[in-house]
């Protein structure tokens, strides 16, 4: 077919469709290659954007983070980026703002707090809550 799949209607598709995750046939096992080194096809959902689902966005306080990786583990949207056992930031294209990362963060005060989407990062860091006392 000559038309690009993006221009086709659902009724023009052939029965049984294949969508490729990678540009060409790959000769490596993806579990051995970090995402930044993979050759993704444009049909990979990685290139879609769901950031506009968000009402609250997570903001990360690097000073408080102990890199426990609980947020990485429990993120449903693969949006906590971790490399070499350290958290390195959020993937705001894929984050839907569910707030699980804030909920599972064990530090006191939390290292990840949800702010409204419009809040600037600096503004958010300035209004970070104080440590809660044990009394």
């Amino acid at each position: 077919m000559s038309k690009s799949i993006h221009d086709m209607g659902w009724d023009e598709l052939v029965l049984g469709a294949a969508v490729h995750s990678f540009k060409e046939e790959i000769d490596y096992n993806p579990s051995q290659v970090l995402p930044e080194n993979r050759d993704y096809a444009e049909t990979n959902s990685k290139y879609k954007y769901v950031g506009d689902w968000r009402v609250f966005k997570p903001v990360w306080n690097t000073d408080l983070c102990i890199h426990c990786q609980f947020c990485w583990l429990y993120c449903p949207d693969t949006s906590i980026l971790s490399r070499e056992k350290k958290m390195i930031g959020f993937d705001y294209d894929h984050c839907k703002g569910c707030g699980i990362c804030q909920e599972v963060c064990p530090t006191n005060p939390k290292s990840i707090i949800m702010f409204t989407e419009q809040t600037e990062e600096e503004e958010a860091l300035n209004q970070w809550p104080e440590k809660k006392g044990s009394k």
Partner: protein, 318 residues
């Protein structure tokens, strides 16, 4: 040769190269993708994955996009198990004929299905696969309701839950029948490994998944998947509710090896009352009225009896 990762701690686990991409359209806070990520990250082997119709399938494969960096197939509602069994049989046949070289590493065959596809619609197909003894893993993402189509009851829905086809109101307390005990049914097939897992107990889960991958033959995994939309709790509370489910023993974590050897793998330090688990989910909010309150005591008795049964079976080794 097994490609299972050595997972000493969470930091080591977090070095995994993810094979499940973002921008799938599962609800914010959905436990399905947490479970899928934990399973895919537990092994380094190539994977062949199938999915039944359900939340996971419709949300991760919105044409023309895919969220899977593994081979993935979807056919119908009922047959993710048979699709993967066919792929497994083909792999075996091609290897016997020498068309797949012997030094090519064996992939892992995993089928995903929701509780609707597992407990109701695909039951006969799964049973067939287990009877034929394919070398595969079937993972049921158990959220106790047909969440994809608007929250109809399935045979996994527990007593008292309000679902759209078993709504609670002035004359009914919601679902009337108890949940099917799928784990015991699958264990009765003589499967080499059957286990219940929960995403919040990640280490226990990774261990069970790796055990399942190492087992020869069909493996059944029942994964508790808290559903923010149909259990009606706040998306941020997915892990909190999961913790309540495992600590109240509503979802006891155990495994059954070769259909007989039962091991309880998680014993909560402080057992939470079932009342607290129910209170966290508005789908049970009608139980907290004087009219239906007796159901909460019945729940507690049922859970206690189940826990007693599991402990006695673990001791007896039968």
């Amino acid at each position: 040769m097994s490609g299972n990762k050595e997972i000493k701690n969470l930091k080591a686990f977090s070095t995994a190269a993810e094979r499940f991409e973002g921008s799938h359209v599962l609800c914010p806070g959905c436990a399905h993708s947490i479970i899928v990520r934990e399973i895919l990250n537990a092994t380094n082997d190539n994977m062949v994955v199938s999915a039944s119709t359900g939340c996971l399938e419709v949300c991760t494969a919105i044409y023309p996009h895919t969220s899977w960096d593994t081979s993935w197939i979807h056919i119908g509602f009922e047959n993710s198990s048979t699709a993967i069994a066919g792929a497994e049989a083909m792999n075996k046949a091609l290897r016997n004929k020498g068309r797949i070289p012997a030094d090519e590493p064996e992939p892992k065959f995993v089928a995903f299905g929701g509780d609707g596809a597992t407990y109701d619609i695909g039951f006969q197909w799964i049973s067939g696969c287990f009877e034929r003894g394919h070398n595969m893993m079937y993972v049921c993402l158990d959220n106790e309701v047909y969440a994809n189509t608007g929250g109809q009851r399935s045979s996994s829905t527990p007593i008292g839950a309000s679902a759209t086809t078993s709504p609670a109101g002035s004359t009914s307390y919601g679902e009337k029948r108890n949940k099917k005990d799928m784990l015991q049914i699958m264990a009765a097939h003589g499967a080499p490994y059957v286990a219940q897992v929960a995403p919040n107990k990640w280490k226990d889960m990774a261990k069970k998944i790796q055990k399942g991958f190492d087992a020869e033959g069909p493996v059944y995994i029942n994964a508790m998947s808290a559903c923010t939309t149909e259990w009606k709790f706040d998306p941020a509370d997915t892990i909190t509710v999961s913790d309540l489910a495992t600590d109240s023993l509503v979802f006891p974590l155990y495994e059954i090896i070769d259909g007989t050897e039962l091991n309880i793998t998680y014993r909560p330090k402080n057992i939470v009352a079932v009342r607290d688990y129910l209170a966290a989910q508005p789908r049970f909010k009608h139980l907290f009225t004087p009219k239906y309150e007796y159901l909460i005591d019945e729940w507690q008795k049922r859970v206690d009896a189940q826990w007693e049964y599991l402990q006695r079976r673990e001791e007896a080794r039968v």
